[in-house]
């Protein structure tokens, strides 16, 4: 029995390790513990098979990724518009300085408000929580559908930005600045 448990653990443990590693290095990784999102899954399947599941005839592009250092440079120089794809609540709690909230869950309601600002910039950068989230890519896709072409995705997201100790905007920071 002990031997069976050891062998079972070996097979399942190896499967878990290989599966997670493969997923981590995959071009379109799946988030491990996140509510199933049929929209996101359909988009990725459509992109992989070339059979677009979205209405319209456009081909889903692959968005260029950007690292934290380049992002910092672009934002400081105000050369790009930074969009936060997370929920408004997450945005209020903490976000990258200069970012504007455009939650993917409320894209249609929020886009019109942000649209005039977007027109002032050639480059758009989207981010969300971190490597495991797909909201930034989904936001980039929605923007692409609206006719924007120069779109980048910061895959590291809020998690990497904080880890690298770059400045963040929090309600406390805002209050301090206002005072």
């Amino acid at each position: 029995m002990k031997q069976f448990i050891l062998q079972l653990s070996a097979i399942l443990g190896l499967s878990l390790a290989v599966g997670l590693t493969y997923n981590y290095f995959s071009k379109t990784p799946l988030p491990l513990f996140k509510q199933y999102d049929p929209h996101m899954v359909d988009l990725v399947i459509g992109n992989q098979t070339g059979k677009n599941t979205l209405p319209g005839e456009f081909k889903i592009p692959t968005f260029q990724e950007i690292d934290a250092d380049t992002l910092q440079g672009l934002v400081e120089g105000e050369k790009a518009m930074l969009l936060d794809a997370r929920t408004p609540e997450s945005f209020k709690q903490c976000h990258i300085p200069g970012a504007v909230s455009l939650p993917i869950s409320r894209f249609n309601e929020t886009y019109d408000k942000v649209s005039p600002q977007l027109k002032q910039y050639k480059t758009i950068i989207c981010y969300c929580e971190g490597h495991d989230c797909t909201d930034s890519t989904l936001l980039a896709l929605e923007l692409f559908k609206k006719g924007h072409t120069d779109i980048f995705v910061y895959k590291g997201g809020m998690a990497e930005w904080e880890q690298l100790a770059y400045p963040v905007e929090t309600p406390q920071e805002n209050e301090r600045r206002e005072n």
Binding site: Q3, L12, L16, V18, P31, K34, V41
Partner: protein, 166 residues
């Protein structure tokens, strides 16, 4: 008395046949090979596999991605383990357990009258969905080599940490 002895001999003969090397190897290759083959498409297309799991309408949404990431690799590694003969009884128990799980899932959807794609060997969606009765029969047939490996294996006479329980 005489009849009883003949029956015992028959049973022993059947056991010896099912436990014989060629039958065991054949069962390992059939079950292991099928699962290795079945896992490849799921590994390559995890999103499509996640969609298939979702369409079964049996799992909470929060576990679907984790299952789509890990399940195909369990199939692949247990399949390889079975084909290579390493931990083969354990691998057979895992694969038969998974097969039993699929069979239960298919049966539930058959009772509910749901149309769904099995996703057993391919993640490509079909318009009509899979035939659940056909799937059940196929799964039960695939269970047979698993049962033979699990219940009709000769205990290893070779000592040593690796050989034991192979």
């Amino acid at each position: 008395m005489k009849e009883g002895r003949i029956n015992m001999n028959r049973k022993q003969k059947i056991f010896a046949f099912l436990a014989s090397g060629p039958v065991q190897y054949l069962c390992c290759f059939i079950l292991g090979g099928l699962f290795i083959y079945a896992s490849i498409d799921k590994i390559v297309n995890p999103h499509a596999f996640a969609k298939i799991i979702h369409n079964y309408q049996l799992m909470p949404g929060i576990f679907i991605y984790a299952m789509a990431i890990i399940f195909p690799w369990v199939e692949m590694i247990a399949g390889l383990s079975l084909v290579s003969g390493i931990f083969k009884r354990t691998a057979a128990i895992i694969l038969s357990g998974m097969l039993l799980g699929f069979t239960i899932a298919i049966s539930i959807n058959l009772i509910r009258g749901l149309k769904f794609d099995c996703g057993c060997f391919s993640t490509v969606a079909t318009q009509s969905g899979s035939d659940p009765v056909g799937l059940l029969i196929r799964d039960i047939l695939i269970l047979i080599p698993g049962i033979i490996i699990i219940f009709f294996q000769k205990p290893s006479r070779c000592p040593g940490p690796l050989r034991q329980g192979l």
